[in-house]
Subunit: 117 residues, 2 copies
């Protein structure tokens, strides 16, 4: 694959699978491209909550808005420019309040393949 | 490793090795943490240029400012919220003009280990 530049308008956002919240994900690079990572954007509506055990290593960069990430160790709040690293095997709850959030993410390996099991 | 949240103020920025431009890099997660990816922030002063052949898969998210990425196929300009994916083996020139840029990056595998060869 060649060098590519993406903007959020390039992503086709779909409801994040396996959950009911208003959380959307749009992959730009994934297993279909032959590389090791999945890259995309995520969009969280206000007042949403998602609890999951990470199936892959997921690095999330907050671009707009604000979200909190809770684990058994406590809660961290992330805003624009902040990075949240969620290693495989960790249990997390991601929540938004009034603002919602736009994120970019990189997973290793591909989250969709891991999710299918 | 556990879930972690980082801000740019958490990164200790050092001159990006193997080049002379005013380009700085600060790893937050790397080979010392036992995971598969290196995560950090990059800071590019205005009017800098860096040419390299990618030793790892590098995903760069522009947080502030603007930079251009040139390959044999042409040049793309990226601003806040844009993602640039630079796969291993690709030759790229990253340039800033008057603004400089702040980026977040995720590499697979660890760039410092690949750089040492």
């Amino acid at each position: 694959m060649k060098v590519q530049k993406f903007s959020v308008s390039d992503a086709k956002m779909i409801k994040s699978p396996g959950q009911d919240a208003e959380i959307y994900v749009g992959n730009l690079v994934d297993e279909r491209n032959g590389g090791p990572v999945t890259i995309g954007y995520g969009r969280y509506a206000p007042d949403q909550s998602l609890t999951e055990t990470m199936e892959v290593d997921d690095t999330m960069i907050v671009l707009e808005g604000r979200l909190s990430v809770s684990t058994s160790d406590g809660t961290a709040t992330a805003g624009p420019g902040d990075i949240v690293y969620m290693p495989k095997g960790q249990a997390v709850t991601i929540m938004t309040e009034g603002e919602g959030a736009l994120t970019a993410f990189v997973t290793y390996p591909h989250w969709a393949e891991a999710h299918k099991g």
